[in-house]
């Protein structure tokens, strides 16, 4: 029972496994860039061979970063029922939409073709690949490094007066406050439960009941969040923080040769996944 309220335990943001591997030591800007391109390339690839390549690549990255693959697989486990349900739905209803290829089975509105089978298999594998890739990135890069990377990758946008520094400050504030709010929420849930409140244990089909149960937690959560925001605004203004001013950073990243090499390999792989006409 009590374990239901330990929200902070489930929070994996900023979960960082310092193994000091090659992947960990890469320039965070280049790491973020390469991972983003790879994820996009995988999301757009629909061939069997392409996705097999992607799967091999993501497993290789776990090995190279010396992080146990079980960390990545633990993210896939809760998703298995969804993958199966989605696969069945796609198999039954998608035959007409992706009607190319050989027809294997046809009965009423159910139409199973080689194309719809491809869709089912590829979207399941793609999902596993993207989970693995995004966990390698977050497990091997600290949140500070990530925020710096975002800021520096977006910095060309400064030319068109896009508020890059402000955006990265927003992200830092957001990440900083997640654990704080989790602790506040734990307190509120315990307080409500000690008064006999019952949340989330109603039958799963009683949507309105389950929603109502959540209101006594969600509304105070927003109020706490907004009053923390007011405090922070006061604190920042009293220290004369002015948005839009030129600022320097404590740590300055410098990309080395190996970083550029990784960037080139990553770009080539993504181009291969995006444009090479795989036979299967």
């Amino acid at each position: 029972m009590a374990s239901e309220f330990e929200l902070s335990r489930n929070i994996t943001i900023g979960q960082y496994v310092p193994t000091g591997s090659f992947i960990h030591r890469l320039d965070p800007r280049i790491k973020l860039l390469v991972f983003t391109i790879l994820v996009l390339a995988i999301a757009l690839n629909t061939s069997y061979v392409g996705n097999a390549l992607g799967l091999l690549l993501s497993i290789y990255l776990f090995w190279a970063s010396k992080i146990p693959v079980s960390y990545g697989l633990s993210g896939i486990k809760p998703a298995i029922p969804f993958i199966i349900i989605l696969a069945v739905l796609q198999l039954i209803f998608q035959g007409n939409v992706f009607s190319g290829g050989t027809v294997f089975f046809e009965y009423g509105f159910i139409l199973i073709t080689s194309e719809s089978i491809r869709l089912v298999i590829v979207s399941a594998v793609r999902f596993v690949e993207i989970i693995l890739l995004s966990s390698v990135l977050t497990l091997s890069t600290s949140t500070t490094e990530l925020t710096h990377a975002i800021q520096s990758l977006l910095s060309p946008l400064k030319k068109i007066k896009f508020p890059v520094h402000e955006l990265s400050l927003i992200i830092t504030i957001a990440i900083r406050f997640v654990p704080t709010f989790a602790i506040e929420m734990e307190k509120m849930m315990k307080a409500q439960a000690s008064r006999g409140a019952d949340f989330g244990s109603g039958e799963w089909w009683r949507i309105i009941q389950r929603t109502k149960d959540m209101l006594p937690i969600i509304i105070p959560l927003f109020n706490i969040a907004l009053s923390r925001a007011e405090d922070l605004i006061l604190a920042m203004e009293s220290r004369c923080y002015t948005p839009g001013n030129e600022r320097s950073a404590y740590s300055v990243y410098k990309a080395l040769e190996r970083d550029y090499l990784v960037l080139i390999i990553g770009l080539l792989l993504s181009l291969l996944l995006l444009f090479y006409p795989f036979p299967f």
């Binding site: 209803f93 999902f127 007066k161 927003i170 509304i219």
Partner: protein, 182 residues
């Protein structure tokens, strides 16, 4: 765009982003419903509140944070596609702001309620459209999801947003910083 982001905008966007992430990672943002989508989400509510309270830019930023966190935490293959998880979420706060500003003169309550309702529908409709475009579900399935989970979601969203914004307007009086009052 210099000067459009005040200290107040930055902090409120950050804090609401934190709430969106928290609702996602603790699973409190999901209310299980028996449909193909599996869950009705209330994680988009911070984006609506951001749009209503601080304007379209804050709304869009909170939307992006929500999108990225739903992409990173997704257990449904659908949301491991950045085009489905991130892109549609940009518009939630913007739509909420447009609706709120349009109706505000007539009635504050009506404006907040309608903004929340249409903001939630924006999320449902755009995500489902992207899902159909990207081939995760057929149009029939999408319609079923839109009706069975979209409508309860919109009602829940309206109630929660109204409660939060109105209670904040009461509490927030006299506590706000004078400099950033705009």
């Amino acid at each position: 765009m210099k000067g459009t982001l005040t200290v107040r905008n930055i902090v409120i966007a950050g804090v609401l982003g934190a709430v969106a992430i928290l609702l996602g990672v603790t699973r409190l943002g999901y209310i299980p419903v028996p449909t193909a989508a599996g869950n009705a989400t209330i994680m988009h509510i911070p984006a609506i509140i951001g749009g209503i309270m601080q304007g379209p830019i804050v709304g869009a930023i909170v939307g992006i944070i929500f999108g990225v966190s739903s992409f990173l935490n997704a257990t449904v293959p659908l949301f491991k596609d950045p085009l489905v998880a991130i892109l549609p979420r940009l518009f939630i706060g913007v739509v909420a702001w447009v609706v709120y500003v349009g109706i505000r003169r007539k009635s504050e309550y009506l404006a907040i309620g309608t903004a929340a309702f249409l903001g939630t529908l924006t999320n449902t409709v755009l995500v489902l459209t992207m899902a159909v475009v990207r081939g995760y579900m057929g149009a029939e399935v999408a319609w079923t999801v839109a009706i069975t989970s979209g409508i309860p979601e919109a009602i829940v969203g309206t109630i929660v947003t109204l409660a939060v914004v109105l209670s904040w307007k009461q509490i927030g009086k006299g506590k706000k910083s004078r400099i950033s009052e705009d």
